[in-house]
């Protein structure tokens, strides 16, 4: 990356009493990058975002925005804009007043205010609604106002705190695209918090996976998908989730024996210490159905869920194995089907440390 850093966090820590919410967070975000913070609830992603905005005090470490140390700065001096989960529109102000609130604080002339509001409103399709109050708007429109309020300031960094979680599914998919398009058009630097890994994968250039206050892995979406460094990331990224099967490396070190009915053996690409116990990770989309003579193993079908474009098939073993098929299923529940695993895409994890074996 050659562009200058817009955000730099060094060893940021945060305690709530005895609870260690953020543990030594290091993060470097080049200008113009869309970063997603993703993780299960309580992992610290919102705390990290709020610390960046200055709404939470950090307990240690250093934060820089556009080269300026903002660690101890109040929010108003940081020049960041934030879109809240609840949108946090000011209920007693019209859309136009909501949009121009930050400009009015900066004492921008009245004549310019309306023009600025109209320009932003036009760019996100709010022109008709400028004189309405937030309570008169639909969820999607409120969302747009919240974004408009951020855009109008032309801030150094955009912060989004789960902005789509209150919208219905189809609107969410549409807003996902709009937010990313907006980011590209403005050449903005964006930090986006979500618990939805699909949002993170589809929108971001760089995804940071957090777990219990620690950055578990940060990389581009495809790197996370293809080379997760831990079992947690592997299970979190991708839908449906990766299958994990316990197993043991064979004497030769180039194949693994799975702990399931028939104890099937899979050849593996990498070379691993013989006889080592491992957790084998296989994504549902990397298993396909095959005629019995060329299959790796066969299992009975327990459930078929069809969406039209795809079928999710559950297979009877413990723990349950799932696979994802794009072609029509020609079998039904109860049938034994032969399966082939894409050997190049098998992930191996150490069962104790849960780290990837490379």
């Amino acid at each position: 990356m050659t562009s200058p850093l817009q955000i730099e966090l060094k060893a940021v820590n945060k305690y709530y009493g005895n609870f260690h919410a953020l543990k030594n967070i290091d993060l470097a975000v080049p200008s113009g990058t869309f970063v997603a913070l993703v993780g299960p609830s309580g992992c610290g992603k919102s705390t990290l975002l709020r610390s960046l905005a200055g709404l939470e005090e950090t307990s240690g470490g250093k934060m820089e925005i556009a080269g300026v140390d903002v660690t101890d700065m109040p929010p108003r001096k940081r020049d960041v804009a934030m879109v809240f989960q609840s949108y946090a529109l000011y209920p007693h102000m019209t859309v136009a007043q909501n949009l121009t609130y930050s400009l009015r604080i900066q004492k921008v002339a009245k004549a310019e205010l309306r023009a600025a509001a109209e320009k932003v409103a036009a760019s996100i399709g709010l022109t008709e609604l400028l004189d309405r109050y937030p309570r008169e708007l639909s969820g999607g429109q409120r969302q747009r106002v919240a974004m408009g309020r951020a855009i109008i300031r032309n801030p150094k960094v955009f912060l989004f705190d789960e902005p789509l979680s209150n919208l219905d599914a189809s609107l969410r998919v549409q807003m996902r695209k709009e937010i990313r398009a907006l980011h590209d058009r403005l050449g903005a630097t964006t930090v986006y918090v979500t618990h939805d890994q699909i949002e993170a994968m589809t929108m971001a250039d760089h995804v940071v996976v957090l777990r219990a206050g620690v950055i578990e892995q940060q990389a581009s979406p495809m790197t996370l998908y293809e080379r997760p460094t831990s079992k947690f990331v592997a299970g979190f990224i991708g839908s449906p989730a990766m299958n994990f099967i316990e197993g043991k490396i064979c004497d030769n070190g180039t194949s693994v024996m799975l702990e399931m009915a028939g104890a099937p053996k899979l050849d593996i690409v990498q070379k691993v210490t013989p006889n080592m116990p491992v957790t084998v990770g296989i994504r549902p989309e990397h298993i396909r159905v095959a005629p019995s003579e060329e299959c790796d193993f066969s299992l009975p079908v327990t459930l078929i869920e069809t969406t039209g474009t795809m079928s999710y098939v559950s297979l009877g073993t413990a723990p349950e194995l799932s696979l994802m098929l794009t072609d029509r299923t020609v079998f039904s529940v109860g049938d034994n089907i032969g399966l082939v695993v894409d050997k190049a895409r098998i992930h191996l994890f150490d069962p104790k440390t849960e780290q990837a074996i490379t």
Binding site: P74, R76, A81, F84
Partner: protein, 275 residues
């Protein structure tokens, strides 16, 4: 069907209670208009035979009600300003922070509410006299009544502030405002109804205040209408129509204000009235 009947029965009971409670008020109005003999007539008349409208002007003149009401107004206004001015900030802090000390503070405030004025007046009187506050007796009463009214105000307004989402304030902070700026431009306008209504209730309470004024204000020229009314009623009083006329002049403005603002008061008290 049966639930309907129960509802009507309950409504009937409520109406009867309301009538019983309001009867003295009605009696005040009719007695003011009656003549001396009609007041003591048995059986009593419920509508005066020859209403004497001149009684109000007469009482106003003779008792010098202008200055009494002015003093009441001064005390009520002063109390409202001090209570609202200090109490609003206090309520806001109590609404926004959550910790053990806040709980302690809330408990102490509720304790204050429990203590009756008649109990507090002796120590207050001694204290005020020692620091020379009795030289400005109306101000002394304003202070005493404010202290008494503060807990009620703080508890009511705190509830209003708690209904304002914290995220709105945070949005204002990120949008570039200071804490004070965010409070003034975002939180206060949204809590306006609750603060106003509570202030009005405090005003009405202070307008009718008696115990502190009676004990602290010796100078007749500085006494409020409540004390003036009390002085009007001697042990051998017979001019009930004049006393009732006095009471009518005293209460009617407050009643009128209450009726006019009734809807807003109820809305403000049951607030959460944000969306």
């Amino acid at each position: 069907m049966t639930s309907n009947r129960i509802q009507y029965t309950l409504l009937g009971i409520a109406v009867i209670f309301a009538l019983v409670y309001l009867f003295p008020l009605y009696w005040m109005y009719v007695t003011a208009l009656k003549s001396g003999t009609e007041i003591f007539a048995i059986p009593p008349t419920f509508v005066p035979n020859e209403p004497n409208w001149g009684v109000f002007g007469y009482v106003w003149e003779v008792r010098g009600m202008g200055k009494f009401l002015w003093n009441s107004l001064v005390i009520a206004t002063g109390t409202m300003i001090i209570t609202a001015g200090l109490g609003t900030g206090c309520a806001y802090v109590l609404a926004r922070y959550r910790n053990v000390w806040i709980d302690v503070a809330l408990f102490l405030i509720l304790m204050l509410q429990v203590l009756p004025a008649s109990l507090m007046i002796t120590p207050l009187f001694v204290g005020f006299s020692q620091i020379g506050l009795l030289n400005t007796p109306r101000f002394a009463v304003i202070l005493a009544v404010s202290a008494k009214a503060m807990p009620f105000f703080v508890i009511l307004v705190r509830a209003t502030f708690m209904a304002v989402p914290g995220e709105l304030e945070e949005a204002a902070l990120v949008d570039g405002n200071s804490r004070v700026g965010a409070f003034v431009s975002i939180v206060l306008p949204l809590a306006k109804n609750g603060v106003l209504v509570s202030a009005i209730l405090i005003f009405m309470q202070a307008f009718g205040e008696f115990v502190y004024s009676k004990s602290i204000i010796q100078d007749v020229n500085l006494q409020p209408a409540s004390v003036g009314l009390n002085a009007f009623m001697g042990p051998n009083t017979i001019e009930w129509n004049n006393i009732m006329a006095y009471a009518t002049i005293y209460v009617t403005p407050i009643l009128a204000a209450f009726v006019l603002l009734q809807q807003r008061i109820v809305a403000g008290l049951t607030s959460g009235a944000l969306k």
